[in-house]
């Protein structure tokens, strides 16, 4: 069962869609299913006759539910809404108390009025009062606030205490202010030092787990230059990625897919693969095929070219994607590739064509190879 929404039941909601001012008249008209012009005329007449229309309009605005629905099934949403309304509640309450005082009433009336308005606005704004139980609870809270305010000592007594209290506060600030400030500064310094120590420990732990382990491994494999180079290369890539907080390899994008393919082939075949990507695009069916074709081209270069390094350059924008895979290795004659070798024909050219793209292989024996993939 879906949760009742604050705008759906019980209390009229502000109608911002058909508003002339704040949407109060339109909300009331919609709630009672009457023509909005009668509500507006009523507010105007009440304003002309003593100005009470303005006060009623303001009170209605503050107590009607907001057009945004509050999910009553979620207690945190209701509490958050109530907590977020404290400024409006206190502000309206203070204004109501001030108006009551100016009207000639004493503090014994103004204080309960202010407390009642404050509680009313906060309760109504939170959207609690849209169910029967919520309305009873809201009424009890408002009455409670009024009763508590009435039970407080008369404000005339408070007024006579105001000056001594202000003097006492000023004295306290002068006495304890510098001490409190020093304590706050010491706390900040201590927190900063703790954060620094934590960061240093994290760096030390990372260096131990990665760089020191790799260096130990390199010492043990010192007789195999290709494996040493591979280990160093992998460590360099990992360290750069960590230093720059680079999350490219984990990203579900064309750049991420190319970096993952490059790392994998570099590890498996001991050849350096350098990826440069200008722009990026999220992986979809087509870019996934492009990344797969590029991976195949890198793999072919790593297996057959005999070059120490493969360059991958990608350019991706909203409309067009291009990937170039280059090596300066042995090269080959594309026309002389036997028909049963499906690597280039199917996995690269055919795959690109099936996804509306194209692939061009430029190579000659001894002159390296360049594969251009376009989408």
């Amino acid at each position: 069962m879906s949760a009742p929404m604050a705008t759906a039941a019980g209390i009229p909601a502000i109608d911002t869609e058909h508003r002339k001012l704040a949407g109060v008249s339109a909300g009331i008209a919609r709630y009672f299913d009457i023509d909005v012009k009668y509500v507006r005329i009523a507010f105007v007449l009440l304003t002309i006759l003593g100005g009470i229309g303005i006060a009623l309009y303001g009170l209605a605005y503050l107590t009607m539910t907001s057009p945004e629905s509050v999910d009553l099934a979620d207690p945190t949403a209701v509490v958050h809404e109530a907590a977020a309304s404290w400024r409006e509640g206190l502000g309206a309450g203070a204004l109501a108390a001030a108006v009551t005082l100016v009207a000639g009433a004493g503090w014994e009336v103004a204080l309960p009025v202010g407390a009642g308005v404050t509680a009313g606005v906060i309760v109504m704004r939170s959207g609690i009062a849209t169910t029967k139980r919520g309305r009873v609870g809201a009424a009890l809270m408002i009455v409670g606030a009024v009763l508590v305010a009435r039970a407080l000592p008369a404000i005339s007594q408070v007024q006579s205490f105001a000056f001594p209290v202000i003097v006492l506060l000023a004295g306290s600030v002068m006495l304890f202010g510098p001490w409190w400030l020093r304590m706050a500064q010491a706390l900040t310094a201590e927190r900063t030092a703790r954060i620094r120590a934590q960061e240093r420990a994290e760096v030390a732990a990372h260096l131990h787990d990665s760089v020191l382990q790799t260096l130990a491994l390199i010492q043990r494999r010192a007789d195999d230059p290709s494996e040493v180079a591979q280990l160093a290369r992998r460590q360099e890539r990992e360290l750069r990625s960590w230093l720059n907080a680079d999350e490219t390899a984990a990203a579900d994008t064309l750049h991420g897919a190319l970096v993952r393919a490059a790392t994998e082939i570099e590890t498996d075949h001991g050849v350096e693969v350098e990826v440069v990507c200008v722009g990026d695009r999220p992986l979809d069916e087509d870019t996934r095929a492009l990344a797969a074709a590029a991976r195949e081209a890198i793999l072919n270069a790593a297996k057959f070219a005999g070059a120490g390094r493969i360059d991958v350059y990608a350019e991706a924008s909203g409309e067009r994607c291009e990937v170039f895979v280059r090596d300066r290795g042995a090269g080959f004659d594309p026309d002389a590739v036997p028909a049963d070798r499906r690597g280039v024909r199917e996995s690269i050219v055919g795959r690109m064509q099936r996804h509306g793209g194209s692939a061009e292989v430029r190579s000659q024996p001894g002159g390296g190879t360049e594969v251009e993939l376009s989408l």
């Binding site: 907001s66 977020a84 309304s85 404290w86 400024r87 409006e88 509640g89 206190l90 502000g91 309206a92 309450g93 203070a94 204004l95 109501a96 108390a97 001030a98 108006v99 005082l101 100016v102 103004a110 202010g114 404000i155 007024q159 105001a162």
Partner: protein, 60 residues
């Protein structure tokens, strides 16, 4: 000293309300008819206005 122009992003209705309240108090004090009895309701109304504007502005 440089001046930052007021834009939609840095405009603060609560600060404007606070400014208006302060100016109103200034005019009132200069007019010379401040009484202790009237001071409390006036302070309350000023504070209420600032809080109300601040709360309503949060919902914009």
């Amino acid at each position: 000293m440089g001046r930052d122009p007021v834009t939609d992003s840095n405009f603060s209705p609560a600060s404007l309300a606070a400014g208006i309240v302060l100016v109103a108090f200034g005019v009132w004090v200069l007019a010379g008819d401040v009484t202790f009895d009237a001071l409390f309701p006036a302070l309350l109304a000023g504070l209420g206005l600032i809080l109300l504007v601040s709360g309503l502005a949060r919902r914009r």
